[in-house]
Point group: C2
Chain length 351, copies 2
């Protein structure tokens, strides 16, 4: 099964280095010879062993993509786009799932860092310090996390939050809440701050419910706590949480958007089919995945092999500009928002 460069060489009647050249620098080999070699290679179904090649070139032609939860509908389009962009440059992508665990994230990223040419860390949950440390081990691009000195693709969630809050305010709401996601999430912080700022600017009341697990179950648990805030409208960390909220609220007899308006994030498929259909801030996950890989690939290309470059050779240039791209989000209005109803304040049931 294992056909090597040597088999091809002997079949084609040339030296192995000629075979090697035929594949890695075809222009350096005589067209006739090249043809002969290629014929032999095809006949033998030869494909260069990438591990062997990588050992010497220092390139594995592999990328790693580390995400919090593959099964969360937020990620698959991103994974797909990343994979597709990588494939265009003949790169394969290793996908790792951290299960929302910071420890797993750190462990996986570290382990992967050594066996790939670069890693994309999507929505990381570890500390800036650990991320910076990781960046010393490998070429690193972040998605939805800003760390000084590290290239990143950021989604403009704050703009989304301003649009969402603005819409709610325009509708006449004066008591808002933010139903939060995981504390370690950059997106979570961005949304919370933007919503809080918008409320502060207009004198609306603002409260936070959470942190919550970024899942339907998390939303279910948040539902009673959201009601307790007395808010008439809420911005929600993501659609999954909003879906859980919808279930919990319906079970408690609270109508959406009649008594409570909701705007969440992500625009997953189910959001459009929920009852009511969820107004949501669509996230450019495809674009982000593509750009992250693009950035990473550029980083890899730009690096002078594995050898240390002679320091100061070109004079001390300024610190290289770190690519930080921000991609736009979009508020999609559906059926989960309406003007506030007359507020009904009930006494807590158990007191």
């Amino acid at each position: 099964v294992a056909v090597t460069i040597r088999d091809v060489a002997s079949l084609a009647g040339v030296h192995i280095s000629t075979v090697s050249r035929t594949f890695s620098a075809p222009h350096l080999v005589n067209p006739d010879t090249r043809r002969r070699v290629q014929e032999a290679a095809t006949r033998l179904r030869y494909q260069p062993n990438r591990a062997a090649r990588g050992l010497i070139t220092g390139r594995t032609y592999q990328l790693a993509l580390v995400v919090a939860d593959i099964a969360n509908p937020f990620f698959p389009p991103m994974i797909k786009a990343a994979q597709s962009e990588a494939a265009r440059s003949d790169y394969a992508v290793l996908v790792a799932d951290t299960d929302e665990s910071p420890a797993a994230e750190q462990r996986l990223a570290r382990a992967l860092a050594r066996q790939v040419d670069g890693v994309v860390l999507a929505s990381p949950r570890t500390s800036d310090r650990l991320i910076r440390q990781l960046a010393e081990d490998t070429r690193l691009v972040l998605i939805n996390r800003a760390v000084a000195g590290i290239p990143a693709v950021l989604m403009d969630v704050a703009a989304g939050a301003r649009a969402a809050t603005g819409h709610l305010l325009d509708l006449g709401h004066r008591e808002l809440a933010y139903v939060a996601g995981p504390t370690a999430s950059w997106v979570n912080t961005q949304i919370r701050q933007a919503v809080a700022a918008a409320c502060r600017a207009t004198g609306a009341r603002f409260s936070v419910v959470g942190p919550n697990s970024p899942t339907i179950a998390g939303g279910g648990e948040a539902a009673p706590r959201l009601r307790e805030t007395g808010a008439t409208a809420a911005v929600v960390f993501n659609d999954l949480v909003a879906l859980g909220l919808l279930d919990g609220l319906a079970a408690a007899g609270v109508s959406v958007p009649g008594q409570l308006s909701l705007i969440s994030y992500d625009d997953i498929l189910a959001a459009a089919y929920a009852t009511p259909p969820l107004s949501t801030v669509a996230m450019p996950t495809r674009l982000a995945g593509q750009l992250a890989v693009e950035t990473l690939l550029r980083l890899i290309d730009g690096t002078t092999s594995t050898r240390p470059r002679t320091p100061g050779a070109m004079g001390d240039s300024a610190a290289p500009a770190v690519t930080r791209t921000t991609v736009p989000t979009e508020l999609i209005l559906r059926g989960s928002t309406a003007p506030p109803a007359v507020r009904i304040r009930r006494a807590p049931a158990n007191h």
Copy 2:
């Protein structure tokens, strides 16, 4: 950045082979020495280079998982489970997306085959011949495809189809249709045949609409053709198609389940939130992903390294039994099925 076995060796004051042993066969090295080596390794943050190791052991500790469409909600749970099962054995997973293209599937699988220890082909769209050929290049496990001599994990979609059709028949339907998916899909054939057989056995009328793209758009296009069949109930290739059908039908003023009952496949999240909520055959994608990797890993372990084994050494044993596992599906009844209404047959609009 690149710390090698040599760095560790010199720091620990031993030969590189001792360092190697410390990592790959610790019991062969003196506890004291081992400790010294480990200390040095930790201090240097040394991790063995897998590519180099693989070059000699013939193991990459990588698996490839080839799917038709990462963004199709059917696959992510499978990918997640596969990745998680692989991680338990310290394997990484390369995920490739074929975009439903048989050509891409073949190309990707072939390319990946050489750089990993084994590949899982999920819902393949290529011919048996090509798949068998691929199996000669690598260790291969199929999901939802039966090819003689190749290990596979199959979901019992036929049983699901019988349950679905039985339910529809019990409700009183006598004119059924199957809204098909891609022709090259094994699942598609299984469902079609099972539904057809059930109809034949009871004398119900049966027709097929399709093939269709396994997407919402595909369902939208199928909607008018489904109406033309005069069926009062349909089994649908997957939830995505059913969702598209729902849109198309609603636009045409056809009520579900009032005028038309629907049962689809997969049980994606959006199915539960659709209006009406879709009755569907849940697919054990997690389990399948896990089992496929388990099977593959066993296959890899069982192979006597890369060297050819001495033939007939143990006497000619019978051809090794090929693992074929079938995992159960489950019919989930929600709101998209009801007894048939009085049938309204309209004359075709354009004649």
